[in-house]
Subunit: 419 residues, 2 copies
C-alpha cells in the first residue's frame, strides 16, 4: 500500500515534469536567464529559511552519530548559500546550447538538412549528502531547457525541500513553470526505484555519489543512465620523467583534495627511475600524511603497508595511495587497463613517444600528460558548470557541462520532395 | 546446466571481443580499409558457400510455413551478396571517424585540451531475419574501430555463420584480429540474455527489429542500449499546404515502400482544407491499395474503416494508414505528441510561421517540412552507411552512421601543471 502510494507520487511529479519540459524546450534564453537570476537573488534573500531547515538536518545527523566529514558536507552557512547563488549566475552567463546547429548541409537533391541541439527533456538526479547539488543541478538543467527531478539523500531532506521551495517560487514569478524543478517525494528506496522505472516519462538518470549508489541505479534502472564519478586515477612516472616535476604532480594529485573523484589513487613508477624517485616520493607523501600501500619494492621503506589487489582497485578518497614499480611502459598500461575506473589516468614523461603510446592505449575519459589528475573537472576545462563526470562511453564522457545535457534533432526542409 | 554453458560461451566471445577491440582501437585507417576490401572480395569469391548455407535456412523456413515476406527477406542470391560486398567497399571509402578532434583549446593556464573521437569498444547487435545486416554491421563496426558481437535470428543461423566465417578469414589474412567480428553462440533466448547482462564487457547493445524485440532488450539489459527503428510517422497537411504537393508527398511516404520504419503511418488534415483535400487523397490512396482507418470525417468516404486509438498508435508497416481531420495546427501537434514514436513527423505547408511552430514543438528524431518521411535515412542524409535509426535521445538520435559508433576521450597535455 505504501509502495503503491509513493510510486504514484513519483509518477505524478514525473508527469508534471514532462509538461514543464515541453514548455521549457521552447523558452528563450532571456526567459531562462531571467529565471536563473531571480533564483540566485531568492537564495540570497531567503537564506534564513534555508539555513533554518539545514540546522534540523545537521542536528539530526549529529544525533544519529553520522561521521563528522559527512556532517560537514551536509552543513550550509551564509557563504555556502551565496556560493550556490553565484553558481546560478555563472550558469545564466553561459551560452544557451539549445538551437545550436551541430551539422548542416544542402543535400544533392536540394533538401536542406540541419542537426540542432534540443533539451533531453526530463532529467532525474539521484545524489547524496551535499545540498548545494540541489541548486547546481537545477540551474544546469533549467539553462539547458530540461525539467529536473531531484532525489537527494534523506539526511538532507529539510535543506533540499527549503532550497527547492525557494527556487520554485522564484522561477514561477518570472513565468517559468515551477514544475521545471521538483523534488521526488516520499521516503526510503521505493521512490528512487519508481524514478528508475519511469521510462518514457524520464529521459535520463544521473546518479551522483558513491560506487554502491551508482551500481544500484545501473542495475535497477530501465531509464537510460549516465554513470558518473568513480575515480581510481593513476599516475605513471615514466623512465623519461622529469622527476622533480613528477613529484610535484603526484603530491598535488593525491593531497590537494582527497575526497574528490579526480584525486590520484595509485602510483606506478618505471623501474629505471625507481632507485632515484622512490627516495623522493615516499618521504614526501608520508610527510603529507599519506599512507602508502606498496608492492615489495615500496614495502622496503618504513611505514609502507603491503598492497593487495583490493588496494590497486580501490578508490580511497582519503590520504591513502597504492603504489607499484613496473618494468615497462606497456606493463604500466596493462596495470591501468586492469584496475582503472576509466576516469582519469596520467603519465609523467619527457618522451614524446611514451606520451603518444600512453594516450593512445589508455582508454579513460581523460588521459593526461605531465599534469595533475585534479584537472579533470568541468570548471577547469572551461565548461563553466558541471553536472558530474561521466565514466561511461555512451552519450557523454568526462566532465559534463551544458552541451552534454542536450540531445539533437534533424530538421529537413524540402519543396515537395519525394523518393 | 544448458543455461550455464550458453552464458559461459557468450562471456567467452565477449572477452575475446574486448581483446580484439583493444587492438582495433589502435589500428590505422589503412589497416581497417585493407580488411574491409579483403572482406568484400571474399564475399564475392566465396558466395557459393554463403548461398549454400542460405538455401538450408530458406528451406527450413518454408517447411516451417513462415510467411512468404519473411522468407523473402531471408533469401540471398548472387546480387544480394554482391550488394553486401559493395556495402563494405562504400564503408571503406568513408573517412575514419577515430582520432577526429571534436573540440580543442589551450586553457588559460597553458594546458592543452583536446576532445578526440575513439571507438565505443565492443558493440552488440541483436537483429532479425535479414542476413545482409550481418555484413553491414560488421563493416560499420570495424571501420569505426569497434569489435562486434552479432546475434541474428535462429532462422538465419546457417547464412549468418557462413557470412561471418568468410569475413573472419578475410580479416585475419590482412592482420586484423578475427575476433573483431563474432557471432554470439548458442540457441534460444539465454545467449541473448547473457549478452544483455555483459556490462563491462559489452559497451553498447543495438537491437534492430520489431517493437517486441526492442522492448525486451530495453527491459532486460544492464548494458547501455540504443533503441532503434519503431516509426509511427505522421504527415500533417496544414491549412496553408500546397495540396497537389501534399498529395504527392503523402502517397510517396505511404506507398513507396511499406515495410520500413520511415514509411508514413498516419495522416492529419487541417479542417480548413479537408473539404478539398479529402476528395483528392482518399481515392488516390485507395487506388494505390491503401486501407484508410479514419475518423468520422474520413469515414464518410466508401471503404474507409473507422479508426480506434490503437490505429493512431499503430506502426502498420503495410498498406494501411490512420487518418483524422484536426481543427488546428496545435491540435495536430498535440495528436503527434500523443501518438508519435518520435521517429519522423512531417508538415506540409507554405506558411513559414506554421513550419517554424511545428518544427519547434514536435519532439522527434527528424522533423520534415514539405518532404516525404522516407528521407529519414542514413544514405539519404549522406552518412554513407547506417547501423539503424535511433528513436531515443541519449548518445545518438536519428540515422546512425560512423560518427554515432564512437565515443570521445579528453587528452590534456601540460608541463608539470598542478592545482
Amino acid at each position: 500500500m505504501t509502495q503503491l502510494t509513493s510510486s504514484d507520487g513519483v509518477l505524478e511529479v514525473a508527469r508534471r515534469a514532462r509538461t514543464a519540459a515541453t514548455e521549457l524546450a521552447l523558452a528563450t534564453r532571456a526567459a531562462k536567464d531571467g529565471a536563473l537570476i531571480a533564483m540566485a537573488r531568492a537564495l540570497r534573500e531567503q537564506s534564513a529559511e534555508i539555513l533554518e531547515a539545514n540546522t534540523i538536518d545537521v542536528e539530526a545527523a549529529r544525533a544519529a552519530q553520522i561521521p563528522a566529514g559527512v556532517v560537514d558536507r551536509l552543513r550550509l552557512d551564509e557563504d555556502r548559500v551565496v556560493a550556490m547563488a553565484d553558481g546560478l549566475l555563472e550558469v545564466a552567463a553561459l551560452a544557451d546550447p539549445v538551437g545550436e546547429v551541430v551539422r548542416g548541409s544542402t543535400l544533392a537533391n536540394g533538401l536542406e538538412l540541419r542537426q540542432i541541439r534540443v533539451p533531453l527533456g526530463v532529467v532525474g538526479i539521484i545524489y547524496e549528502a551535499r545540498p548545494n547539488v540541489t541548486a547546481d543541478a537545477a540551474g544546469i538543467c533549467l539553462k539547458s531547457g530540461n525539467a529536473v527531478l531531484l532525489r537527494g539523500s534523506s539526511s538532507a531532506r529539510h535543506s533540499n525541500t527549503a532550497i527547492v521551495s525557494v527556487l520554485r517560487r522564484a522561477a514561477v514569478a518570472t513565468g517559468i513553470s515551477e514544475d521545471a524543478v521538483q523534488l521526488v517525494p516520499g521516503d526510503g528506496y521505493e521512490p528512487a526505484k519508481a524514478l528508475m522505472r519511469a521510462r518514457g516519462l524520464v529521459d535520463v538518470l544521473i546518479p551522483r555519489g558513491g560506487a554502491g549508489l551508482i551500481r544500484s541505479v545501473v542495475e535497477e534502472s530501465t531509464v537510460p543512465v549516465i554513470e558518473t564519478g568513480v575515480g581510481n586515477c593513476h599516475l605513471y612516472v615514466d623512465a623519461d620523467a622529469d622527476l622533480d616535476q613528477a613529484l610535484a604532480v603526484v603530491l598535488n594529485s593525491k593531497t590537494q583534495r582527497t575526497s574528490v573523484c579526480n584525486a590520484g589513487e595509485s602510483l606506478l613508477v618505471h623501474e629505471q627511475v625507481a632507485g632515484t624517485f622512490l627516495p623522493m616520493v615516499v618521504p614526501a607523501l608520508q610527510a603529507a600524511g599519506v599512507t602508502i600501500h606498496g608492492d615489495e619494492v615500496f614495502a622496503k621503506y618504513d611505514a609502507v603497508v603491503p598492497a593487495t589487489a583490493e588496494d590497486y582497485a580501490a578508490e580511497y578518497l582519503s590520504l591513502d595511495i597504492s603504489a607499484a614499480v613496473v618494468p615497462s611502459l606497456d606493463s604500466a598500461i596493462a596495470h591501468i587497463r586492469t584496475y582503472s575506473s576509466s576516469h582519469t589516468d596520467a603519465i609523467l614523461t619527457r618522451s614524446q613517444e611514451a606520451a603518444r603510446r600512453f594516450t593512445a592505449a589508455v582508454d579513460s575519459a581523460a588521459v593526461l600528460v605531465n599534469a595533475s589528475t585534479r584537472f579533470t573537472d568541468g570548471a577547469e576545462f572551461g565548461f563553466g558548470a558541471e553536472i558530474g563526470i561521466s565514466t561511461q562511453k555512451l552519450h557523454a564522457r568526462g566532465p559534463m557541462g551544458l552541451l552534454e545535457m542536450t540531445s539533437t534533432k534533424y530538421l529537413v526542409t524540402g519543396d515537395g520532395h519525394v523518393r
